[in-house]
Amino acid sequence: MSARARAIAIALTLALLAGGYLAQRLVVESDFAAFLPRGADARQRWMLDQLRDGPAARLIIAGIAGGTADERVAASRALADALAVRPEFAYASNGSLEVAQKDLDALARHRYVLGADLTASRFTESGLRQALVDGIGTLQSTFAVVEKQFLWRDPTGETMSLLKRLARDMRIRREQGVWVDASGARALLLLQTTATGSDLDGQAAAIAVLEQAFARLASAGQTIVYSSPGAMAVTSRAIVERDAMRVSLMSATGVLLVLLIAYRSLPVVAIAIVAAALGLVAGVAVVQAVFGSVHAITLAFGATLLGEAVDYPSYLLTSGASSFAEGGRRHAVARAMFLAVATTACGSLALLMSGFDGLIELGLLTAVGILAAGAATWWLVPSLVPSGWTFRAWSFGHPETAWRLPVGATVAAFVALTLAAVAVLAWRPLWDDDPARMNPLPASLAAQDRQLREAVGAPDARYVALVRGATVEQALERAEALGGPLADAVARHELGGYALVTDDLPSEATQRRRLAMLPEPDVLRARLREAQRGLPYRADAFAPFVEDVRDAKAAPLLKAADYAGTGIGLRVASLVADAGGEARVLVPLSGIADPGALRRTLTSGRDHVEIVDLRGEVGALLGAFRERAMIATGLGVTMIFAILAIGLRSPSRAARVVAPAILAALWTLAAIAGTGHALTIFHLIAVLLVIGVGVNYMLFLFPAAGERIAGTALASLAVVSATTLCAFGSMATSSIPVLRALGVTVTLGVVATLVACALLVGAMRSRT
């Protein structure tokens, strides 16, 4: 078997194995969440899960606009009715009392364990007497028909005081019995999906049901807007899918065109692509094996990486070392090839160490893909190139004679560019750790979400008091104990407001304490008899009251599950969590004047209470990841330098290769920051890729001691930089911030590296 046949056989076998594995196993994931940071510890992970998968993530706020007020009310009613019976929705309310009836019933049923102001004195003979005298007034009033409905079961008025609290909590404006926004121009609905927030197929199905129902029920000219974490995730998934496809196609087409122009031979172009593609298939297969799925963003990035992986066949092809017949030349390129592949693989270190699942995927794909593409190039390409084909270099000339600059000018240019970059980076505020900027969603959607949230009085909860306990009961008791300090903080204007879930779900201890205030049926009956004396009630008028009190004392205590299907249930479920061995109660806080002071007030002497700044928390996570990315970048540069120092057998030569690459990366960051763009962790991670690319270019300009610069080095650089620019340039047009940041950074990085190369070439003097 000839060397050529063997190479082809091995390559084909490997390609078939990897391809077969992928064909059978490949799962493409496009949930954007993979590109959001994972929490550093269990608590942070729980907080993030809560944001992503908690009951709040299942809430959809919808607004109907257009048409007349009556038409909006009609559409609101029809939509709420249509959705309430759908299995995709656990709850659908337009604020009408028909739906709220379930909430009213739940409150009325559990009034004796819920009453915050319940006192035993209300159930004494004199307390009851007062209630019954008031009851006569109620029966005489014009609105008796409304007010007397609770009288016989609840003469002491517990239900009414709970309803007043409910009305106070639910501040959404009503018109004609349905919720509207402040201007009255939109009818509002609150919906809860049965699917969890991270079940994007379930979320998409619920949204489809909502859209279809609205299309069927709406009158002409009406429009619906809706927002929910789930809906936003579905939208970003659609954007990711669409964008990943577009970027891949654009990049592949560009790379193909560049190669066709450079080589003017279909077989040679095919060989270059095959070598690079083999590497990528191997990379995707490894990602699939390690992660169990491959993200659409990873695939798009992979398609872009093709533009970089194709550099290795290009180095080989353009250096005239592509055939075994020219073994000597191939040997000459060997070292540069090996070093280029090894250093680029090091470039993925920052991705691998990022702490984001999605970025780790990208890193793994890059490392495996580049190594495999390098190997495929080395062993496969020379045996495949048609004999007799040579790269006809354009007239860039030999690097040593191409163009000349005074050495002083080159040094001055480097110093000037670097000083300018340092000045820009020192002057501009550097990092932006706002997680909102990572999402591919257009800003208009975020604004719409904010609007709808404000309309229903559910502003994005930023500050939350987290109360921990070993059991739910303990956490609830501790939350109740926090009620006093919270009320004091409000009275002192340190705090605007708070939502204490124990109003709706008191601890069992509190429930028992309240039930203990209620007299036994016989006692109550006797007291009522006395209290009724002289009043015109029939003897058995309050029999339902005695029954209810007896039932309340005998009934099991109130649990969160008792609120199933009610609006209160939504709130309770979102604020109480039993997370494996630790129960947590969330107390949303609003209107905080001084977070530090409030934190001291609420947490001093209470180890189990924590004040969490949700947005700050995610921002801090990103900050921590950024620091980690810095370390990874430093480590990557060190490794690249070590590999070069050993490979080139000269630290000073290695420094001459690495230094321009690092400076070019610095110019790149300055160019991004200087044009008014905030730097994110993604730009930083891309810096190591830029350094890897720069090192590759320098390697071909500064070979090891005793090796000559290839006469075609400039043409090589032209081809490889053109493919890389095509690929990462396509990525820079992405609407996914992660891809855009990586694309912009690498594109600008290649340009900066080319500037550095041009300056160095100009200063190059013939060594002959």
């Binding site: 028909e98 009033s141 028909v145 018109e175 004609q176 008028a541």
Partner: protein
Amino acid sequence: MSAARGLAVSIALALAASPACALDLRDIAATLGAVDQSRVRFVDVRTIASLGTPVERRGTLAYAKPSTLEMVVETPLAERLSIVGGTMTIESRGATRVVDLSRGEPLFAWIEGIRATLAGDEAALRKHFDPTVSGTIDRWTLRLAPRDLRLRSLVAGIAISGERERVRVIEVEEASGDHSVMTLTPIAAAGR
């Protein structure tokens, strides 16, 4: 002959009855809508199952076109209730409440039903109720069935009867079985 006579009587009766059969809400609304203002005394007898004796309320009711209604209860509990435009003010037991009726809170719809009847405001009536009409314009009865479920859980129906532009009796049948009958008598000749 007697058969023919019988037939003639039947036809005559049918002809006489037909205007009554054709009586619809629009006729009553038009008649009532022509009234600029009115002032009456009322006696409201409320029968409540769990109360040994009915509650008897007395006071005055004043209406002025197009949408002002004032109800002053003198006994047994002094109350004042006024609707001006879309706003209802209730003064009762030392407290004053203001309710925006345009928000369509169904619990207040029954009072709106009475105002709308007095004003001959057909659209407002149909918003909250399914109205049916019987009798003649000289002696009509307007039955209002609440459309809203929540209101229906409290008020089974309202029957308003009158003679031409004069409303005589307002009966409220509650879902609980309790009911009230409010009889209106003019104080002075209703201004036209």
